[in-house]
């Protein structure tokens, strides 16, 4: 470690020397006065053109920044809200369905979803299902911990019901691309724009399926002790 | 410059040929005005000072009639250009002639050849230079141990050959 600490300034110095030599050599090239002048003005013209194009494109190209969420709003505890019955914002609800099931409910093992089963002392054969959307929020180097809510871009597949069988299908592949631009922080000293760091993070939650199953229906769940076991909670 | 060179007329010789032994004597006048011999400037085998050459060249121009009496003489700048030398040096060449009264100045017009310049030069060459050459001859003869008759014989023989 100490060796590394000693090496850093040496390497930096070496880089500095290399750049000095490079710059000096630039001076020594046989480029003439006229070349430099044309080069500079050509470049400036190109940049101005770039500015105009950027201004026009910014208006022509459709883009809408995803909604921003503050860090404290990111962690809405959905399971707790479900269990405690506190109101859940409408935007989380992906589907609300009910199914007639006789005798038993068979659920094969699945991945990428959280299943919450609530038993009711009800002898009807109706299972109420509420599917809550998976969530994805990304922080792109925002030092103030503001997240972009990109949940809308996620595609998800709803559980499939066939008589007394509920299958949670494999979720479709979600490949989300974002291109992010901001001006260098140093330039924004007086513009009031945010400063961006160089680390990013994200918060995500998988799809939540909430089933209200009457007690008369026998549950046939996959082995709880398997590696996905924690994805299913049964509230008696 | 406080030192002023005056070239005494009777000791001033001009030479047409570099190979001939020559001697120029300079007099220096000090502030009191009495003349005192200070320096010799001799040209033996080496090259002559350029201003002497200039003076000489002008002399020759006067003797061979290229420059007639009352003709305008080259200015020092023309001479400088002509000989590729410093104008001050050229001026010094002119000064030699001025001091010898071979040329004269007309204010604002330039320098002109004196009426008696050619005459003076011819006399001087006869008396001055020739006698000087005779002196040189006698020096050489003494060195070789030649008698006067032998010397005269030599001269006669040379003359005969030429004629």
């Amino acid at each position: 470690m100490m060796i590394f600490m000693v090496l850093i300034p040496v390497l930096l110095l070496l880089g500095l020397v290399l750049i000095v030599i490079f710059t000096k050599n630039m001076k020594r090239t046989r480029l003439k006065k006229k070349f430099h002048r044309n080069f500079i003005f050509g470049y400036l013209l190109l940049l101005l053109l770039g500015l105009v194009v950027a201004e026009v494109m910014e208006r022509k190209v459709e883009h809408q920044n995803p909604p921003k969420v503050n860090v404290e709003d990111v962690e809405f505890d959905l399971p707790a809200a479900i269990i405690e019955g506190t109101p859940i914002p409408e935007k989380f609800v992906l589907a609300k369905r009910s199914h007639k099931v006789k005798g038993e409910l068979v659920i094969p093992s699945f991945t990428n979803a959280y299943l919450l089963i609530e038993r009711t002392p009800d002898n009807s054969h109706t299972i109420t299902e509420t599917v809550y959307t998976p969530e994805l929020m990304a922080n792109i180097g925002d030092e103030n911990d503001v997240y972009y809510d990109v949940t809308e871009r996620l595609e998800s597949a709803l559980p499939i019901w066939e008589s007394n069988l509920m299958t949670v299908p494999k979720q479709p592949l979600n490949n989300i691309q974002y291109t992010f631009y901001h001006d260098s922080n140093i330039l924004n000293q007086f513009t009031g724009e945010k400063t961006y760091g160089y680390s990013s993070g994200s918060v995500s939650r998988s799809m939540t399926i909430h089933l209200i199953v009457p007690e008369s229906i026998v549950l046939k769940l996959p082995e709880l002790e398997n590696e996905y076991g924690t994805y299913i909670d049964v509230i008696e | 410059m406080t030192i002023l060179f005056i070239v005494s007329q009777q000791y001033l010789y001009f030479y047409l040929h570099y190979t001939i032994k020559m001697r120029i004597v300079h007099y220096n006048s000090n502030a009191l005005g009495n003349l005192k011999v200070v320096k010799f400037l001799l040209e033996m085998d080496g090259e002559k000072p350029i201003y002497i050459q200039i003076a000489e060249w002008l002399e020759t121009e006067i003797i061979d009639g290229t420059l007639q009496a009352d003709d305008k003489v080259y200015s020092q700048y023309q001479l400088a250009d002509l000989f590729n030398i410093n104008p001050a040096t050229a001026g010094k060449g002119l000064t030699i002639l001025l001091d010898a009264e071979l040329i004269y100045k007309k204010r604002g017009l330039g320098t002109f050849v004196s009426a008696d310049a050619r005459e003076k030069l011819l006399t001087k060459r006869k008396s001055g230079r020739l006698s000087r050459l005779v002196q040189e001859l006698l020096n050489e003869a003494a060195l070789l141990g030649l008698q006067e008759e032998q010397l005269i014989k030599l001269i006669r023989a040379e003359r005969k050959e030429r004629s």
Binding site: T23, E55, E58, Y181, F190, T191, S200, S204 | -
Partner: protein, 249 residues
């Protein structure tokens, strides 16, 4: 006898024009650096990828003109340094100058270079923005020239100010080294100590010197700070160079 009489201003102006015509390479170097930076550093952007099990791949490209800003500031330091070279002095002193006009011309040149650095860096922002606009799902967190012209010009001002500051620092370092080569040893030592033992030269917090400028929120105070700093840096350089002999063996 004298035939020519120049005023200091007139001559400083002419020396400045002379500098502009002889130091075109300084600007060309900046442009080459910026282009290289644009292509290799920021052009590719920085891509972050997150993968959740089998389902989601989240991929985003962050584009900014940070790279160009860094390169331009680095260039500024080097250029300031190089302007003090013996060759630069000899070139100027081949023509009419004294040390004052030489210094003034250098200063004007530095200001020009700083302005060019400031303008090009900010304009490169819009070039980078175009690159971003070709991407998918664009997030743009900046205001353009038309949406808020004041912000746009404040960016140019800030960048120019920092470039100017760094150039003057490079210029002072170079001047001191020209004055005595012993300064190389001193600077080398400081540099080494700084990195090896983390000895902090600035009083108080680690970033206090930088924060003196960067932490300033009032644009007027910022300008004042920069002007005063540049004057002090230039003053020291001038004081040192005014006694410097040119082309001495």
């Amino acid at each position: 006898m004298f035939t020519t009489q120049w005023s200091v201003n007139e001559l400083a102006k002419r020396q400045y024009l002379f500098k502009l015509s002889t130091n075109g390479a300084v600007f060309t170097t900046l442009i080459v650096l910026q282009i290289i930076g644009t292509i290799f550093i920021s052009g590719a952007g920085s891509t972050f990828m997150n993968d959740w099990g089998e389902g989601i791949t989240f991929n985003f490209t962050s584009i900014s003109n940070d790279g160009q800003v860094g390169l331009t500031l680095f260039w500024a330091l080097i250029v300031g340094f190089l302007l003090t070279s013996a060759a630069q002095r000899n070139e100027s002193f081949s023509f009419v100058t004294n040390r004052l006009t030489f210094q003034l011309a250098n200063f004007y040149f530095i200001c020009t270079a700083a302005l060019l650095g400031g303008v090009t860096t900010v304009l490169l922002g819009s070039v980078m923005k175009i690159v971003a606009l070709f991407g998918d799902n664009i997030i743009i967190e900046t205001t353009g020239l038309l949406t808020s012209p004041l912000d746009f010009f404040s960016r140019i001002l800030v960048m120019t100010a920092y470039t100017l500051l760094l150039m003057m620092i490079g210029y002072l370092l170079g001047t001191l080294i020209q004055f005595s080569k012993l300064f190389i040893v001193l600077f080398g030592l400081i540099w080494f100590m700084y990195f090896t033992f983390g000895i902090n030269l600035s009083v108080g917090e680690g970033e206090s010197l930088l924060y003196f400028y960067y932490g300033e929120t009032s644009i007027l105070l910022f300008i004042l700070k920069v002007v005063v700093s540049v004057s002090v840096l230039f003053g020291i350089s001038f004081f040192v160079t005014n006694r410097l002999e040119v082309r001495n063996p």
